[in-house]
Amino acid sequence: MAASFGKQSLFRLSRFSCRCKTSGFLNTKLFASPLVTSGCRHSSSSAHTNSNKQESEKHETHFGFQSVSEEEKENKVYEVFENVATKYDLMNDAMSAGVHRLWKDMFLERFSPTPGTKLLDVAGGTGDIAFRFLKYVGTPVGSTFSSSASVAQSSSDDSSSSDSEGTQVENKDSFSEPDINGSHVTVCDINQAMLDVGKAKAKSMGYSSGISWVKGNAEVLPLPDNTFDAYTIAFGIRNCTHVQKVIDEAYRVLKPGGRFMCLEFSEVKNPLLRSVYDSYSFQVIPVMGQVIAGDWKSYQYLVESIRQFPNQETFAAMIKSAGFRFVNYKNLTFGVAAIHSGFKI
């Protein structure tokens, strides 16, 4: 069964390319799942829905190596992260032997934000990038701004109203002020369970200023145009149903001159290393998931979704096609992960 649409989309024409395939075992599930999706998703399919059969030919995408309908993928990804939220950090450490911390540090090193940066960290629920950012720009720990002046809230009304049907802004709570230097990070994640873990961490670390939490879909950000100096997404874009849409949204919310940075698993080119890496991924990681987090399938999904994600070059082309300039990438650990970067000029 064909799966990846990302790999083929070297060019922009495949932006909204989705799978229109019938597969027997899926159709039964399609009617069961309520459609909780953004409006634009079905705009193309609505034109040709007459018979039952055609209606069942909803767009398909991949969930790991399975083909699922697009709505189902969103729900399934939600489930995965709901299941693993509390064990997320422990599992990351176990699977990568702590290397993911180094990757994230290098990501910040390469990003090197200056104090005063307004950052949007998408899919950053547990705050791994956000806290590193705050540390990097020197946000003081434990500073208390008791005033509830909402900075971003006032500006979030105008332009985001256009796509308000699809957005899932449920609790736009605690928009805290920027810190003394004007640095601020907005953490956006679609998953409440992950945000809860992040918020609890922020509390225990003593951050009260410079960070705010938004629940929202990366494909339809509940945020206004031209707002942020930088956009980061670390190990998150892989889980989105429409990768290109996510990049387009990043382009929209960034100020001109703003930077897009993405840390994501990528392709190991060396065939020997790759076979070792693949054996480790498929043979060991699901077992670890079962033993540590009590969840085999979420980690099976993880290693499968890594293989489905576009490789370095293809992903760079996708970033370029969204309008970003000076797009480049850097491999980490032989390409197990890669940092992609681009500027909105």
Binding site: F65, S275, V284
Partner: protein, 292 residues
């Protein structure tokens, strides 16, 4: 299956190496296209092998695993059980990954018995949808059903809490495993053992001898380490000899259609099974366990 998948990928990698060598890097775009075409092959071929075979291949809930994954899981779950005995999912995983040989033995014993065969044919399942707990509660005192109901009630257990089987690569053996698991509380009731450490160890000895499941054997051997001094003495003096004796003397409990004996008097039922009741019954009172 996943082993196949890895081999396929290695094979594809070799193909890819060949492909890139042939193209001699003259045109980087060409190599890029080659690599993306080949990685599409991975996505098109490997997924179709794995996605349908990885899960639910032999029964719903089945996760197919390689031998390597099973051994890793056995080791990992064993350690997890030692670190945290409350992780019943790890105990289950340990039972499943080490169980197939013993399960085959149980299966053959069941096949050679008429009731066992009937159970394997009908595959009865014990949970709240198949068993009317209220009805069991309304049975007269002293019946097997009422005793089971009391056991569940006093310990706050539910028959639904028994986990499904995931890692057994055979539908028939999966059912044997499930049946063993679902009958565990019934064995407790029959033996009159509360689910505290001492009672659990006695039941594990009984089950280890009857079923030969490695998980039961290791629990029977290593469980007593966690007993306190008083219980340890009682264990060696009374319960261990009794558990071994009754396990050998009684009927093979996997061949008992428990669901058909709810209304039978428990002492009569025990006699029928040639099951020797505990010499000194264990009684659970709140947190402490007393002997009469």
């Amino acid at each position: 299956m996943s082993r196949n998948c890895v081999f396929t990928q290695v094979f594809v990698n070799l193909q890819k190496m060949k492909g890139t060598l042939n193209s001699t890097h003259l045109n980087s775009f060409r190599t890029l296209r080659i690599s993306s075409v080949i990685s599409n092959d991975i996505n098109n071929e490997v997924p179709s092998n794995t996605s349908h075979q990885q899960y639910d291949m032999f029964y719903p809930g089945h996760i197919s695993t390689s031998l390597f994954q099973k051994s890793l899981l056995a080791a990992g779950s064993g350690i997890a059980c030692l670190l945290n005995p409350a992780r019943d999912d790890m105990l289950c995983a340990l039972g499943e990954t080490t169980g197939p040989l013993a399960l085959k033995y149980i299966h053959s014993k069941m096949m050679s018995d008429s009731v066992g065969r009937q159970i394997l044919e009908e595959k009865p399942v014990i949970n709240t949808t198949t068993i009317n707990l209220e009805k069991l509660g309304s049975l007269p005192d002293g019946t097997f059903g009422k005793e089971y109901w009391t056991f569940l009630k006093t310990n706050g257990f539910s028959p639904d809490a028994r986990r499904p089987v995931n890692f057994i690569d055979d539908a028939e053996l999966m059912y044997v495993m499930l049946r063993y698991r679902q009958c565990h509380d019934l064995v407790h009731t029959l033996l009159g053992m509360p689910p505290n450490m001492l009672g659990e160890v006695a039941v594990k000895w009984f089950e280890a001898i009857q079923t030969r499941l490695p998980m039961c054997i290791s629990a029977a051997l290593f469980g007593p380490i966690r007993l306190g001094p008083k219980h340890r003495r009682k264990y060696f003096d009374i319960y261990l000899p009794w558990a071994i004796r009754s396990a050998y003397n009684s009927k093979f409990l996997m061949n008992v259609y428990f669901e058909k004996h709810w209304e039978q008097d428990i002492t009569e039922f025990r006699q029928e099974l040639n099951l020797e009741p505990a010499p000194v019954p264990l009684i659970k009172t709140g947190k402490n366990t007393k002997t009469k």
